[in-house]
């Protein structure tokens, strides 16, 4: 599709950049910062930074257990954050939302708690070749410990999850399918509604790694028909140290705790212990209080923009970037070409230049991208690449960032004498 044929952009990335203090910082390159690594972690808007500072400064105390004003205040704000997360992902109840550090912990919680109760010798676990290590290694470990088998759904040459392979492997009756919504290494958007229906028909529950989708598009756990979902706050403009696991209530209630300690018990005696109700059963110890409150502010910020608009904006940038990079000499692109199937995460290889060198040269032009295996080594192995360079976009990016990316590519090829 030619650039001229596209609609105008729905958001003004340059205007939104004013909300993010990091763009005021002087970059050592002397260039303005072109931040194209949001898939790793996103900058924070002033609203989030101030919500965290305000929580620490004026509303901070330990939650749940204090019978005094400050603790009641902190508890109310912490629980309001849980409600906000539930609302953001369409969870039927905020009691189904467990605060964790990040998506990784959310998935580990399911692997340890649901997994060790429900998976035994001879059982089959399905993950995919497309997964981030966070949605692959915990299942490998579970399989190794429990005597289960783990298999991986393959990827097609053009970067789709191989649904025929999925169907074949589902026919063997796995207990669980661990799948990502959006691949951080390829950008692929997987058809989760369809995949959940297939998995459920085969009797498997679905654990969705939504680390790369919840920040960038409307997500509704009921519509997707999944059983668990894990997300990270830091990728959606929120603080580090906070994420969420959502799970269907019956599943969460039937699961044993993961970590144990204060706040998650009902009664402790030297002879034994009983557990609190969900979600507290899964939140041992003092949680990331101000960080949950900061995540609430991030959700409010995204809701004010509107997730449909975030998606439309990124789709627009993706199309421009994809078309321009496709036309650029020496650039090899990974993942599906259709903007319906590809998030604004573009993994590419520059002929004759190693991705690490690409990233370093780009940095000299103020362009921040990621280079490496993106914590998805099996994807790299699938395409026989040691690494790729990845440019990922978010609300504060605009067409000018696509231009700077292209300029940096040209400069790199010139420097390495391959242009």
């Amino acid at each position: 599709m030619a650039i001229e044929q596209l609609a105008t952009d729905i958001l003004d990335g340059a205007a939104l950049r004013a909300d993010f203090p990091v763009f005021d910082r002087a970059h050592r390159s002397g260039q303005p910062l072109t931040f194209l690594d949001s898939a790793a972690s996103a900058p924070k808007p002033r609203a989030v930074i101030e919500a965290v500072a305000d929580a620490y400064g004026h509303h901070y105390a330990n939650v749940h257990r204090g019978i005094y004003e400050l603790s009641e205040d902190a508890t109310a704000r912490f629980e309001a954050a849980r409600k906000a997360v539930a609302g953001f992902i369409g969870a039927p109840s905020d009691r189904e939302v467990v605060f964790v550090r990040n998506a990784t912990e959310g998935i580990n919680l399911v692997a340890y708690s649901w997994g060790r109760t429900n998976i035994g010798p001879g059982d089959l676990i399905l993950s995919t070749e497309m997964e981030h290590h966070a949605n692959l290694v915990p299942w490998q470990q579970l399989a190794a410990e429990s005597g289960a088998t783990i298999e991986y759904v393959g990827i097609t040459d053009d970067g789709h999850l191989d649904l025929d392979d999925l169907q074949l492997k589902l026919a063997r009756g796995p207990r669980l399918l661990a799948v990502g919504h959006v691949s951080n290494a390829l950008g692929t958007i997987n058809p989760i509604e369809e995949i959940s229906a297939m998995a459920h028909a085969a009797g498997a529950i679905v654990v969705l790694d939504a680390a790369q989708s919840v920040p960038h598009m409307p997500v509704d756990v009921v519509r997707l028909g999944i059983d668990f979902l894990a997300l990270s706050g830091h990728k959606m403009l929120g603080p580090s140290g906070i994420g969420a696991l959502w799970g269907r209530r019956e599943l969460l209630e039937a699961m044993p705790p993961f970590m144990t300690g204060g706040s998650m018990i009902s009664k402790v005696t030297l002879a034994g212990t009983t557990w609190a109700e969900v979600p507290l059963k899964f939140e041992a110890g003092t949680p990331a209080i101000a960080e949950a409150i900061g995540l609430h502010a991030a959700i409010d910020y995204l809701d004010a923009i509107g997730m449909e608009n975030v998606r439309a904006h990124e789709r627009f940038l993706f199309q421009h970037a994809w078309d321009a990079l496709s036309a650029a000499p020496g650039v090899r692109l990974l993942g599906p070409a259709s903007p319906d199937e590809h998030a604004a995460v573009i993994s590419f290889v520059l002929d004759g230049v190693h991705p690490h060198d690409v990233a370093t040269v780009f940095d000299g032009h103020g362009v921040a991208v990621r280079a490496g295996h993106h914590c998805a080594q099996p994807v790299m192995a699938r395409y026989d690449l040691p690494a790729t360079t990845r440019a990922s976009f978010y609300v504060y990016n605009g067409l000018e960032d696509v231009e700077r990316l292209l300029a940096a590519i040209r400069a790199t090829r010139t420097l390495f004498g391959v242009g």
Binding site: I67, E69, E72, A76, E79, R95, I265, S266, K267, E277
Partner: protein, 140 residues
Amino acid sequence: MDNLYRDFILEHYREPHNRGTLDPHDLHFADSNPTCGDEMSMTLRLDDAKERVTDVAFDGRGCAISQASASIMTDELRGMSLDELRQLDPKDVLENLGVPIGPARLKCALLGYKVLQGAVIGAEARWPDEADVLAGGSAP
């Protein structure tokens, strides 16, 4: 808190109504407040049709709020049917208590209600959802 410890609350605390254990009884349950470990038990007697409450007593130690709330609530139970007990609205329990209860003391105020539900429904009785009970109420 200024209007929390009103005289009638302190009176119910010092001299609770319906205190003790009925023996024999038709229904019995004991539970605790997870936030402080306070324990309360309740016994109920039913009429011959095993349908309506003829007598009730609660026991255990706890704070002024939990004791007053159980004392006041149990005063209302005689003559009620099991169905009516099951449908008892925790908001009404708070309203009968007659002092403003925030989230930090909610479980204290509802301990008697929770134990009563346990006696009627069994161990699967749950703590009412905090947000539901406090909605539109006097919570901060």
